[in-house]
Each structure stands twice: as structure tokens, then as C-alpha cells.
């Protein structure tokens, strides 16, 4: 009797786990499935693609010309005709063809590189600044430390929604809008500041777990504080530092609100979230490509997370904060 009850219980248990896994991975399964299909098969029923292909990936990576990128016959004929025309008549027709073609492109690689640059750079600088800040918080006594620490924590309570208007006004006033480069710099500074509190908090918590006796020994040996940070603290907390870097990187990689405020007029400078979202609402929303782009957007982050999972889970619960 007891046995039967426990069998029933474990069946229910595994059913619950199974339902949970389906619930979690369902959208991902379709993302993968559709990304390996031909455009015309995007809505075929069944999870497993009947004619699997890496077409969409090849096109996004520029390894293969999309049909849409190839000149249509009509355009080719037009080009031939244009050759014989006088120059001033040639220009508007050529411009029209090029603008048409530009409209038809899906510059995934450019978005990807923009995101990589801005998320990578802002999180790198954020981590460097917070190593010093967090060290001061966890080891050095100075008046005002408590207040500063509390204000840094308080900053968590200010969402981007609250800051969007004033930040936009400030950046307009100091002339940091008007072209794509300036927009990118504005984003860099904003991402840097948005990730600082998280980085400081997590690193501070970690540094406190490093025994101070190691440092005392180094001080007796004549090492300076800076020497201690670079030669002892950084090597000892490398996993934590990388974890924090990944968090900060993700914030920049995901950010949409400020990107849409500062770089929407400059398609050359789009990051992945804004670039893909703009394409989604254009004529180029081909599901296979959108899904392949989604997979490739996720891969760097998922790889980072999976390799660091052990530290991440600890860091997440210790730091408690990501957004």
C-alpha cells in the first residue's frame, strides 16, 4: 500500500517536471525549428523541419546572397538602359535602385557588432571602476562610506522610465545628440552608469569573503594598496569579476529604451534590440530570418551563462540583483 502511494507520487512528480520543462522551452524549440527552415516552410506544422536548411543563417552572416539582395531582372535591365543616358539623368534612377536595395537588406552583422562594441566596452569599464569602488567599500574606512553605499543601493529604485526624459534633455543640452556617433557615446555612458550599482554591490559582497589576513601579510611585505588590488584581490576574485562582467554585458545587450531614444534616426548605429525590432515591423520580417537572428543574438549570452553557471547562481543569490 505504502509502495503504491510512493509510485503514484513519483509519477506525479515526474509529470510536474515534464510540464515545467515544456512550459519553459516551448518558445525556444520553435525558435530553433523555424530558424532551420526555408522561408516557404515557416508555417509548416510539426516541430521538426521537414527540409532542414541553414539557409537563413548563411544569409544573415552574408555567406550567401539573399534572393532579395540579388538584382531583380527588372533592375538589371534598368541598369543596362541607364548606361547610355547622360549623367544627370542617370543619377536619379541609380539612386532609386540603390535605395530600394538598401531598404531590402537585413544588416544583422552590423547590429551584432554595434551591440558587441557598446555592451562590451561599457561593461568592461563598469567592472574596472567598480573593482576600485567595491574595494573601498569593503576594506577602507572613510567618513561618508555608509551614506555613499546606501545611495548606490537606492539607485536600484530608479528605473529607466523615470530617467528617460531628464537624461534625454541633458544630452540634448550638452550637444550629445545629432549624429550616430554621439548617440552611441551617450548610450555607452548610460549603460556604464546603469550597470555600476549592480557591479559595485556584487563585487563588494564578494571582496568581503576574501580573508583580510592575506592582505595584511602583503602590507607587511611593503605592498601598496593598489598593489594589493592588482596582485591579490583581482586574481582571487576573477570568477566574481567575470560574473559581474556578464551581468553588465547582458544589460547593454538587452537595453531597448535608451537605444530607441538616442539612435533611432541612425540605422547604421542600431544595436540588436532596436535593429531587430525595426526590421520586424518592416517588409523584411521573414520568420526564418527573424528566428535565425534571435538564435544568434542569444548564443553569445547563453554560452557565457552556461560556462559560468556555477558562479552565476551563487552571484545571483548573493548579489540578488540584475536589472
Amino acid at each position: 500500500m505504502v509502495k503504491r502511494k510512493s509510485i503514484l507520487k513519483s509519477i506525479l512528480f515526474y509529470l510536474a517536471i515534464f510540464a515545467l520543462v515544456i512550459f519553459v522551452v516551448y518558445p525556444f524549440i520553435w525558435m530553433l525549428s523555424v530558424s532551420f527552415r526555408y522561408d516557404s516552410d515557416a508555417f509548416d506544422p510539426g516541430v521538426i523541419p521537414k527540409r532542414p536548411t541553414i539557409n537563413a543563417y548563411m544569409e544573415l552572416l552574408g555567406l550567401k546572397e539573399s534572393i532579395r539582395d540579388e538584382l531583380s531582372n527588372e533592375e538589371k535591365q534598368l541598369l543596362d538602359l541607364v548606361k547610355d543616358l547622360p549623367e544627370e539623368q542617370q543619377k536619379p534612377i541609380l539612386d532609386k535602385i540603390y535605395s530600394q536595395r538598401k531598404k531590402e537588406s537585413f544588416p544583422f552583422l552590423r547590429f551584432f557588432l554595434n551591440s558587441l562594441l557598446i555592451a562590451g566596452l561599457s561593461s568592461l569599464i563598469s567592472v574596472i571602476i567598480s573593482i576600485f569602488g567595491a574595494y573601498a567599500f569593503s576594506r577602507i574606512k572613510f567618513p561618508g562610506r555608509g551614506t555613499i553605499q546606501k545611495s548606490v543601493l537606492l539607485v536600484y529604485l530608479f528605473g529607466g522610465t523615470i530617467l528617460a526624459v531628464p537624461l534625454y534633455q541633458i544630452f540634448v543640452k550638452i550637444g550629445m545628440t545629432g549624429n550616430g556617433y554621439k548617440g552611441l557615446v551617450s548610450l555607452f555612458v548610460i549603460y556604464l552608469v546603469q550597470t555600476l550599482p549592480v557591479s559595485l554591490y556584487m563585487l563588494g559582497n564578494y571582496f568581503r569573503t576574501i580573508p583580510e589576513t592575506i592582505e595584511e601579510a602583503a602590507i607587511i611585505d611593503g605592498s601598496s594598496r593598489i598593489g594589493i588590488i592588482t596582485k591579490i584581490i583581482i586574481p582571487l576574485s576573477l570568477p566574481a569579476i567575470i560574473t559581474v562582467f556578464i551581468y553588465a554585458f547582458m544589460i547593454g545587450w538587452n537595453e531597448y529604451l535608451f537605444a530607441s531614444i538616442f539612435i533611432r534616426p541612425y540605422p547604421q548605429f542600431y544595436t540588436l534590440p532596436i535593429g531587430l525590432n525595426e526590421i520586424f515591423y518592416s517588409d523584411h520580417a521573414i520568420w526564418t530570418k527573424m528566428m535565425a537572428a534571435s538564435v544568434m543574438t542569444s548564443i553569445p549570452v547563453i554560452i557565457l551563462f552556461m560556462t559560468m553557471e556555477k558562479y552565476l547562481v551563487g552571484g545571483l543569490t548573493a548579489g540578488g540583483v540584475k536589472e
Binding site: 525556444f28 569602488g133 574606512k141 572613510f142 539607485v155 526624459v165 547582458m250 534590440p273
Partner: protein, 293 residues
């Protein structure tokens, strides 16, 4: 440096060094977070001009008066409160359930644990597209599945103003429960087994053990997670906006007022200020009453 007068020279040197280390952080956060919060309040009293060189016009409280008379504002406010409530309660219940399941050892647990992190770690834009795909009218696989339960297959669930709120809430719960599950699980694993053994000797059943040992132990974790998620979800812009433009929460309203159509940034600043003040007082009450700090 009057504050440092009663410090010994060595301590003084240390303190100055400490300040040097934190100064970049302090400067950046003051300039780009604290100052904007106050500047926002200042702007809310102006008719903010968008062209350079043209001055902002002081309008006193009229931005506030306009908002308080604006029915769309009140509706968005109500929707935002409901959204926050549903997503916080939903993701905590789900997170708690999952944490209890994952606290048992079973075959394949490591794999399941990594899969559970996926919704939380995958870039937002990517999962937004896959959700939009599965919920497409007629062809979307989830839509097709839902027709088995009486849904009509032609319904555009995401872009229907009546349903988009529900979709966005479920999406938010789906995306954020792993965060809560992780926090609860790590607390669960630190509860001393002796308590459960003692309760068993006293004849307690599983439900009683959960109610009298597990829940009280989890009180503060759940309380703090609810606070964090509450704050974040209240301000949540991207997850809502990218998923559906028809969900009409207050952050979306601010964004639309400030950056689309004919921008009224003074009004947007006033809404943001109200949101901020409301949030701050709510947090104050919560921290006192629930977390008992």
C-alpha cells in the same frame, strides 16, 4: 578637510585614498542618476521645448493638473498596478513551486536546472520574437493548440487590447520566475534538517511541515524578492512594449508622451515624478510593515 581633523595621519591617508577609489562611481552616479531625478521634477513644471535655443516655458502645476484630469492616465495607472500585482504574485507562486520541486534529487536535475534559467538569461528581443511566432493568429503553433480549448484561431491574442495585458503578464511571469526560484532554492537548501526531523517525531505531515517550518524560514527571502520584482515590474518598459504596444501600462504612456507624436516632455516628466513619488512611499511602507526593518 575638517571631518578628518581627529584622524591620525595614517587613517587620514587611508580615508583620502578611499574617497579617491569611489570618486569615479560617485561622480557618474550623481551626474547621471541622482541629478536627473531632480531635474525631472524641475522639468515637470515646464512646457519643455524640443528645439535648441528656445527656452522652456514655466507653467506651474498645470502639467500635473492636466494629468490628474486625464482619464488615460488613470486607466494606465490602474493597469500598471494590476500588472505589478499579477506578475509579482504569479512569479512568486511559480518560483516557490519550482523551488520545492527542484529541492528534491531526481534523474536529470542538472539538465533541468540549466533549462530553467533559459527564460531569464536569453536576450529579451529573441524570446519576444519566438513568443510572437507561437501566438500568431491562425498559423501560430500555440494558437492552434489553444483552439482545442475553445479559442478561436483567428484571434490576434497579443495585439488585441483586451487580451494583450494578460499575455504580457504571463510573459513577464514566464521570464522572471527563474530569478525567484533561484533565490528561494538557495534559502531552502540552507534550512536545517533538524527542524523537519523534530516535526516528524511530533507527527507533522508534509503540509504542516511546509506551513510551519518552510514558509516562516522563507518569509524574508520572499518579502525581499517581492519588493525587488515589484519595483522592477512597476517601471517595466521593454518587456511590455516590445511584446505588445497595446498593453497600456504607465511606462509606455510616459514613453509615448515623451518621444512619439508631438512630444510633451514636461507632461511626461510630471507623470514620471508622480510615479516616482508613489513608488517611494509604497516602498517606505512596505519596508516598515512587511520587512520590519
Amino acid at each position: 578637510m575638517a571631518i578628518l581633523d581627529n584622524y591620525s595621519p595614517l587613517k587620514k591617508k587611508e580615508a583620502i585614498f578611499g574617497w579617491k577609489l569611489v570618486s569615479p562611481t560617485v561622480i557618474l552616479i550623481s551626474l547621471l542618476i541622482l541629478y536627473p531625478v531632480f531635474y525631472n521634477i524641475y522639468l515637470s513644471f515646464f512646457d519643455v521645448s524640443l528645439s535648441l535655443g528656445e527656452n522652456n516655458k514655466f507653467v506651474g502645476f498645470s502639467n500635473y493638473i492636466n494629468i490628474l484630469k486625464d482619464i488615460t492616465f488613470w486607466r494606465s495607472f490602474g493597469i500598471t498596478l494590476l500588472f505589478t500585482f499579477i506578475t509579482v504574485v504569479g512569479s512568486i507562486l511559480l518560483g516557490l513551486g519550482v523551488a520545492l520541486l527542484m529541492n528534491k534529487k531526481f534523474f536529470g536535475r542538472t539538465l533541468v536546472r540549466s533549462l530553467l534559467l533559459l527564460p531569464y538569461v536569453t536576450p529579451l528581443i529573441a524570446i519576444v520574437f519566438s513568443w510572437k511566432y507561437v501566438l500568431l493568429p491562425i498559423d501560430g503553433p500555440l494558437t492552434k493548440f489553444l483552439t482545442l480549448f475553445g479559442f478561436s484561431s483567428g484571434m490576434d491574442i497579443i495585439n488585441d487590447p483586451n487580451n494583450s495585458f494578460i499575455v504580457v503578464s504571463i510573459f513577464n511571469i514566464w521570464r522572471n520566475f527563474p530569478f525567484i526560484y533561484l533565490m528561494i532554492l538557495s534559502k531552502l537548501q540552507s534550512i536545517n534538517d533538524d527542524y523537519y526531523e523534530a516535526a516528524e517525531i511530533d507527527g507533522a505531515n508534509s503540509w504542516q511541515k511546509f506551513l510551519h517550518i518552510t514558509l516562516p524560514e522563507l518569509y524574508f527571502v520572499i518579502g525581499s524578492v517581492a519588493l525587488l520584482r515589484g519595483i522592477w515590474n512597476f517601471y517595466k518598459f521593454d518587456e511590455v512594449y516590445l511584446m505588445s504596444k497595446f498593453a497600456n501600462t504607465l511606462p509606455i504612456y510616459i514613453y509615448e508622451k515623451a518621444f512619439t507624436g508631438i512630444p510633451q516632455q514636461g507632461v511626461a516628466a510630471a507623470i514620471a515624478t508622480l510615479l516616482f513619488l508613489f513608488m517611494m512611499s509604497l516602498i517606505g511602507i512596505y519596508v516598515k510593515k512587511v520587512l520590519k526593518w
